[in-house]
Symmetry: C2
Subunit: 330 residues, 2 copies
């Protein structure tokens, strides 16, 4: 986005998407957008090059024949249903890490709601600095910058909020019903479909920016996962047997996130907590929690508290507050 | 630092500083450091160019005549008395902001104890994004990266710890006794000498890096302050009437910080809190606290709690917990 030209291109794309499978005359597009027919024709050519399937028939006009699963700036922006989130979009074919790029942008003052998306990450990363496999063209690798006025200790609540938005978005677009494993994974049948990495930049007692990274395995073939991931991870395609529309999933995540986030800012965490609990896989189950310091605690996952901290009851009745851990459901 | 050559230069400088006002023969330096006399001669020339006052007398050798107040990498490293802090030094003649540079370095994995120092900042900044005046050659503009294993809400404790280290360092090197105004200013006679900006990078519940920025007005002339700062800020030179040794102050800050920080990591915040209270200007006084949200509360500053939060008692006996505010002593 940014310059006038690409704005027009995005508006043309939006018109075509909104009238999918109908013909729109070049003249009608010109009249709506106030540009020349030559300009329309040039933008359509560009969109075709970007991978959009657009028919052009004389005297009828232009028609989008199939939704494109290709990821591009125009594609993500064309049907965005949010008021704010994602409109300042930084799309890259490839990046070392969307999270790192978002940190640098946030440090340089990027606006609330800025979204970084890449079609490939060369050094994607997950929680605790772990590597995140993010090959070209198969997933959603994105980082959202938000600037809420909350206290530092509330940050983990946003990981939970994001989990809910992502589970709902996957269900909307693909029909798959995933569950959430505290603190930051979205699973199907025990295999990881999505990882969420919530990071923050803050002054001593004042959040400056929260950067929420989302990595989702969408259209990778099961056979293409590295051996060490095959047992632990899966793509949505490997569950449904078909490819899914990544721009539509991104749009759905942003839509759900914005609704939940506005509710959170106005009403607090309570309703988010209820929603989160309805998708949580571990609650009420025996689990192992391995903390960052290397201790392993076995107990019953009782729930989360109002700050998103996991409550784990050991056999002697003690309730442990777990701020950060890897958990395994027994 | 970094390459062998500049390491030798730093060791020559350290020998000269350790034997200040004595002559050291070129041969003796060669013998100690295992390099040629020509190499020694070249390094001495370099040091003279960097502003060190080094006499060279035939048959006697080299002598450092006066401590240099000039800021350089060699100068800061030559008498560093810490085990860890500051040894990974990134010195720049000029930077937009040491804090911003440190954030980028931390994001890219810079080691615990990395120090960024600049002789000038073009866009230095203070708390809440406020501008910080940092002209060439007159102050200490530095940012320290540390990676403690603490919870997010403990971060403000490190602002207080830093304040104590800085007050002690100023006293050691210049004789001036400053006081601390919660949360992050060091004052003399009501005028700001030092500002501290503590920021963090974190995963949702796990500190990755704390970046402590210190801006100190050392050798600026009172007349050189911009008009809007003249009433609120002062330099140490404006108090003592003489110039002070900036590298020595940096070394003293790091030495005190390291001692306090190790105590903090081993024993917790309690002893740091006692030290802080002994320098605090506002405790027991009537103050106005203006919060980030724009509210102003008037009350008695009772103290700080174990997490560094200011306790303010209003006339009706309510004790308010103030996490972040500008305070004014009435």
């Amino acid at each position: 986005m940014g310059d006038g030209l690409s704005k027009t291109k995005n508006r043309i794309l939006k018109m075509l998407v909104d009238h999918q499978n109908e013909y729109l005359s070049g003249q009608k597009i010109c009249d709506c957008l106030g540009c020349s027919r030559t300009a329309v024709w040039k933008h359509i050519k560009d969109l075709q090059k970007e991978g959009f399937k657009i028919d052009s028939v004389q005297k009828k006009g232009y028609r989008m024949t199939a939704p494109s699963h290709h990821l591009s700036e125009a594609n993500i922006l064309s049907s965005l249903k949010t008021k704010k989130l994602g409109h300042n979009l930084k799309f890259h074919e490839t990046l070392p890490s969307t999270q790192k790029e978002a940190h640098h942008l946030a440090e340089d003052g990027a606006a609330d709601g800025t979204l970084v998306v890449a079609d490939e990450q060369s050094t994607g990363r997950g929680r605790l600095g772990r590597e995140w496999h993010s090959p070209m063209g198969t997933g959603i690798w994105m980082s959202l910058i938000i600037r809420p006025d909350i206290a530092l200790h509330q940050t983990p609540q946003l990981t939970l909020l994001t989990s809910v938005a992502v589970v709902k978005a996957i269900h909307d677009i693909t029909g798959v019903e995933c569950g959430i494993k505290w603190p930051n994974d979205i699973l199907y049948n025990g295999k990881k479909i999505v990882g969420i990495l919530t990071e923050l930049q803050a002054e001593a007692s004042h959040v400056k920016a929260i950067i929420i990274g989302i990595g989702m395995n969408v259209n990778a073939d099961a056979a293409d996962f590295p051996d060490e991931l095959k047992k632990r991870a899966a793509s949505i395609k490997s569950l449904t047997g078909r490819e899914h529309d990544r721009p539509a999933i991104i749009q759905a995540i942003l839509k759900h996130f914005e609704l939940l986030y506005n509710t959170y800012l106005e009403e607090g965490f309570e309703i988010i907590k209820l929603l989160w609990e309805s998708y949580a896989l571990s609650l009420g189950k025996e689990i192992y929690a391995r903390t960052v310091k290397g201790d392993t605690i076995k107990g019953l996952a009782k729930g989360i508290d109002d700050e998103g901290v996991l409550l784990l009851e050991t056999r002697d009745g003690t309730v442990h507050h777990i701020y950060s851990a890897d958990i395994e459901i027994i």
